[in-house]
Amino acid sequence: SSWWSHVEMGPPDPILGVTEAYKRDTNSKKMNLGVGAYRDDNGKPYVLNCVRKAEAMIASKKMDKEYLPIGGLADFTRASAELALGENSEAFKSGRYVTVQGISGTGSLRIGANFLQRFFKSSRDVYLPKPSWGNHTPIFRDAGMQLQAYRYYDPKTCSLDFSGAMEDISKIPEKSVILLHACAHNPTGVDPRQEQWKELAAVVKKRNLLAYFDMAYQGFASGDINRDAWAVRYFIEQGINIVLSQSFAKNMGLYGERAGAFTVICSDADEAKRVESQLKILIRPMYSNPPVNGARIASMILNTPDLRKEWLTEVKGMADRIISMRTQLVSNLKKEGSSHNWQHITDQIGMFCFTGLKPEQVERLIKEFSVYMTKDGRISVAGVTSGNVGYLAHAIHQVTK
């Protein structure tokens, strides 16, 4: 007999299942709109030019492979903090922050979740927006936290339920943790406007909540890194000492290299040092020290003026292509003769779009048109190209007319 007889088969990953089914489909017109990775206008993965250049520069330096410090590559963590906070940020300049390298967004979120479990004694509750990225819940749960929710997405309007959010947040018990998507909310693509962020900050401050920002799309959402970090920076300016997880998977196309960072804004530099020591104690028994490759590439780009400039242009290029696909999808739907209001497609921002399609309609899209997406009607706009946007509009119109 086996030690593992009682181990259940884990349920299949819903998003991976989409890609598996897509791969099996023989229809030449098939579209994979489940993919959470950027694709160019030919539907191909895109390796940024600045990444290639950075890689060449790194190779020419012939560096050794010695272990990184537990907290990661210092040039990378400093540049990540500066990117998020802004070079003029008082918090950054005073050094009242600590940033450790994490395994992309997930790893950074997990370090933070573990840190909260160990050191945030006033509450076990983490409030997520409804809906949130599917992996947020198990990450916090496995770290030993409990999950609650606040209203966020309004399915009737396919946009932000701002009054619902404000109402729910104003009732969150003091000193709980609230998770906020800094920009390009995943999965809805619905972001608060700056005026709304101001009100959110006020209520978060009033309720004395610990604000945990997840920023996986800085630069990728609007095309402007400063604009996408606005909420993060505003909260800090309002005196809210946030914690923040960053990913460079999308905005630098470094997906499989796992480049990310976790930041804690502290009262002062001394507190930051103490927090850093505890983060290292958490990291060491997880994987000792982080992988160098992605961090080195990101650091080279952020710290080399020419490469940084090129990166900003490329990031804008990716964001612009996504925005253009949104626009084309809406205009094609109009051309198809759809009488529905599809404005939310262009109002929403980032890689994902909550189309508003119902499960039965999604199923028809998959079965009759080989257009693959998750059951909640979420599409990855990154999977749309000028070559297939017409077909997509046609298919959506067929199932919604």
């Binding site: 007999s1 086996s2 030690w3 593992w4 007889s5 009682h6 181990v7 259940e8 088969m9 884990g10 990953d13 990775a37 993965p45 390796v47 990444v51 890689e55 060449a56 190779a59 012939k62 050794d64 492979k65 010695e66 272990y67 990184l68 395994i103 992309s104 967004g105 997930t106 790893g107 997990r110 992996n135 198990p138 990450i139 749960r141 496995d142 770290a143 998977a249 196309g253 470094l254 997906y255 499989g256 290299e257 796992r258 104690i281 958490l282 060491r284 028994p285 997880m286 994987y287 000792s288 020290n289 982080p290 992988p291 160098v292 490759n293 992605g294």
Partner: protein
Amino acid sequence: LAAYRTDEGQPWVLPVVKKVEQMIANDNSLNHEYLPILGLPEFRANASRIALGDDSPAIKENRVGSVQSLGGTGALRIGANFLSRWYNGNNNTATPVYVSTPTWENHNSVFMDAGFKDIRTYHYWDASKRGLDLQGLLSDMEHAPEFSIFILHACAHNPTGTDPTPEQWKQIAAVMKRRSLFPFFDSAYQGFASGSLDKDAWAVRYFVSEGFELFCAQSFSKNFGLYNERVGNLTVVGKDADNVQRVLSQMEKIVRTTWSNPPSQGARIVATTLSSPQLFDEWKANVKTMADRVLLMRSELRSRLEALGTPGTWNHITEQIGMFSFTGLNPKQVEYMVKEKHIYLMASGRINMCGLTTKNLDYVAKSIHEAVTKIQ
């Protein structure tokens, strides 16, 4: 942290690694897309094959699973998290976990942070005879609650450098089988210890041949010199394919909330090397270079100490294996070495053999001689 050094005291990027990195850089078909949750398939299969052997019955019977992990530590942690959730019932964090005395200092933290509440030690190092305390070890296993988890160093025990002989491993396996104890191997030095991949994997393979279900956390940090790329693999050997499949599906859940999917660069280097017969031979030669240098330093240090007539016996220096050696120096003698001679040892008397070079051998031997004769 311990890493290999050349005879010039420098870090060493393996020539085969440089070659493969260049191949990867020149391959425009490669990109930076996500790996699957469990890692690069070619890496996983090859990594487990290295540990278990080409002719492993477990591989032939399709009852081996692999989880690409962030170094050996990451493999240990994923394994520990899985055991904490699924071993000996569900979420049975009261299951005792045994680590050797002494052991790598991070072992404790890995299992503690994975949730285990009862971490115990088993006898291992016998300071008086400077060798393995086999009787103590076997006795601890006899008295351990059944189903306890035992962390075993596959080879090149860290920090003592003292490994059981094959005969001793057989005795250990017999007790573990009888007491239903779970073997969790930590294999961080395969190839690096003796210079032979097969020899260094003997214990793991013996346990597999004895029908154990086991975990083996592998690190490619030392034997590939890929320290900062974080290349590791958790090899899972189960009773049959069905069990292994279910285990892997639950490993995915654990990985997904820890790092989602592993880093690709290091895994690509290892997979490319292991799947090409020519590169594989080059790698084995590089590994032997490192192992041979360490073996040479051991024999040179021992012969100098014996020539100096340094009090005590010094055969343990060459009988021990791997990167580290428990010299037998006591804390006061260690302090002398550090303060007066600027030679850095741990308080335990552990020395990193990679720090020895042909240039400093005389100095180190003389310093040990002074420490032992001047300080009691």
